[in-house]
Symmetry: C2
Subunit: 421 residues, 2 copies
């Protein structure tokens, strides 16, 4: 590896390598990066549809596929796409070699189907880069200390790319996908949504966990830990710089709010005026957990000293199951009532700037009140405010909040925005 050459790690997702034509297109992009004077390592996912095809084979064979063998099976998807990309590169006179995760030495723990990367060996990568090769690596997979093939779970290719970039101290890890980057909110709902040129790791984590499924959360955590800039950009547009995910202090121009995330198909259940004694929350959540229901937000209001209101949200699919459990326990605990709503949505305002500004929450509530939206529940974290509202009012709410915080006017050069209360 030439010490003067910066290493760029590029990751291409399943839709980016979904056809032979697209693989040729990716090869052209890789060659372009190489010609700019970079050492390039490419991480690929399986061709779109291939992982599902393999999983269907396993499920049609047996109800509970052996997890070790499941990993052996599905890891072939990335092996196919990596070899095809390396062929496409060699065919264009760009020397390239492909390697599986086990070949590179992407060491993981033993948890099949959702392994975590423990270490990335760099000897082979450094040697091949020094010889001028582009290296193509299968995403999503590794090898455990026993020598078995493991997979990282869906979206794991992002983590493979970040882990390799971190191990080699790459200049940047570029995640190529079928969207242009991270938007202030979903542009399919709000056409005025703006592409963010930068976003902090913390904001990205809040956005990702809320359903802006651009980057796998684990990869953002890993990049943040290793202080590695990650750029999200589109495989299919040539001029875009996408969104750079980086440390807050690297973003020179601050802004108050970065975006609005939302999720539909939520349900909310409250148990009202339950006698407030130690352990009551544990009793309630314990029953929900035993029924294998995942809950999302939790809030509790001690209405007076002897009773309390306990509220939680969850995905709508398990709503009736939870409601039955709650009605039973309400009687046992002597609660006044169980109230619920199965047709709610979550809206979250995310922004690292709100840490030092106290007016963000009140402005958001005021905006929603002005358009007649009733807030069912509120939770807050340091850089996020989430509210539960009627799902029917989601779209108008996102639009109103997006307007109020001038996200539609957010410039790509990120002028700081004043909070206008």
């Amino acid at each position: 590896m030439n010490d003067d050459m910066a290493i760029i790690v590029q990751k291409y997702g399943g839709s980016s390598v979904g056809t032979l034509e697209r693989i040729k297109h990716v090869a052209a992009k890789v060659i372009q990066t190489k010609k700019q004077g970079h050492d390039v390592i490419v991480v690929v996912s399986a061709m779109q549809g291939e992982t599902d095809r393999l999983i269907t084979l396993a499920n049609n064979l047996t109800h509970e596929p052996d997890p070790r063998e499941y990993d052996v099976l599905v890891s072939t998807g990335e092996q196919v796409s990596m070899s095809l990309l390396a062929m496409a590169l060699n065919a264009k006179n760009c020397p390239a070699r492909s390697y599986t995760g086990p070949q590179i030495g992407i060491i993981t723990d033993h948890i099949h189907t959702k392994a975590r990367i423990l270490d990335v060996k760099t000897d082979l990568l450094k040697k091949d880069l020094a010889e001028g090769f582009v290296i193509v690596v299968a995403g999503f997979q590794g090898i455990n200390p026993r020598g078995d093939i493991t997979t990282l779970g869906r979206g794991g290719s992002d983590t493979t790319a970040v882990a390799i970039a971190a191990a080699l101290k790459a200049e940047e890890c570029q995640i190529y996908t079928d969207v242009d980057g991270v938007y202030t909110t979903d542009p399919r709902m709000i056409p005025e949504a703006k592409l963010l040129s930068h976003i902090s790791f913390e904001e990205m984590l809040e956005m990702a966990s809320l359903g802006a499924k651009v980057l796998q959360m684990r990869s953002v955590e890993l990049a943040s830990k290793h202080n590695l800039p990650v750029r999200v950009l589109s495989t299919f547009s040539n001029n875009a710089l996408g969104t750079l995910v980086t440390f807050e202090d690297r973003i020179e121009q601050k802004r108050l709010v970065s975006g609005i995330a939302f999720s539909r198909e939520e349900a909310i259940i409250s148990i009202n005026s339950v006698p407030n004694r130690a352990g009551v929350e544990g009793t309630i959540l314990g029953l929900i957990s035993e029924a294998n229901i995942e809950i999302d937000m939790i809030a509790q209001n001690a209405t007076d000293k002897t009773t309390t209101d306990f509220t939680f949200t969850q995905h709508r699919k398990d709503y009736m199951k939870s409601l039955n459990i709650m009605q039973k326990i309400a009687t046992e605990l002597g609660a006044a009532a169980v109230t619920s709503n199965a047709k709610v949505a979550k809206l979250s305002l995310v922004g690292i700037g709100m840490r030092s500004e106290t007016g963000v929450a009140s402005k958001m509530f005021q905006v929603l009140g002005d358009i007649g939206v009733n807030i069912n529940m509120i939770t807050t974290s340091e850089i996020k405010i989430s509210v539960i509202i009627d799902e029917a009012q989601l779209e108008q709410s996102v639009k109103a909040v997006h307007d109020a915080f001038s996200l539609h006017k957010l410039m790509m050069d990120m002028q700081p925005l004043a909070l206008e209360i």
Copy 2:
């Protein structure tokens, strides 16, 4: 590995694992063998059609796929089938683990797409057998000393199975396929053809090279070298013992002739009365070889001291090309004529017993003469006599020779047959 337990290596071809139902059927056969008290290692090919699908991907991407990457690609076919078989075994409570060629340590040379096995590591195999696992290994693939994935070429899974069986000194290597074993001749042509219970390595090599495509030749050579009995048998019939390929001295009851192999679509070309000087054969064959035409049989008759006849056979597809070359060179060399026939077939009688018996050839020629078949060319080896005849007369010739040597009466317990001249 329990020292008292004999190791059986079983190989299942692409049609044997062609569907999920067939994979379950193979799992049942493996479990049956395991229950008989054997340690079992299973070698699998890719599911029928899968290797072709992968090759088509590569060829549609680029005209000359990089050989290293081609091997990375096509080796995924066996990885899919091995994991599915191991899943099917585990689902039936038979502990099994699958491994790729590289994982086992099937070391090959560097020749991508047609590598040769140099060594088979046995540590992992012995360890897993000792722990009671059935081991499923991907056929057709290995790893070169640089750490790259290699493939052995079509039919290479047979060689993988034999190499593993030899390395572990297995009791027997069983090649499961879609035919019952090796027949005295092709039963699709001659319904009276008999299944051979035994055949010698040498006879098998002659039969295989003549188009009885039951076993890859390289695997027969390897088995012969390591003195390893190989049994060819059907995946789809339960009671058959198939054909055991073994050393001549292990076959107690001798027979004169074991079978008749034949191949259609041959062509024959003779250059007649060519002045017989040193190097003339090299001149003729050199031109054919430069034109990338593969020739099969060669015969030369020195008709008198100054001129000679030179004859060869080849596949029909390149016939016109060869004929043009021969007509040109005949003029240059001052030969009398070029004679040819594009509609001939080859019929070969194979049998280890003919080594010590001289009457076989004359009996064969007499039988063919009796039914009015003209012989165009004859070549012989120690255990084989091949003749070139008109293709239109092939079927009646095979039947007559089959009858004359009483191959239709060959008993499965192999009573010795007398030569009746």
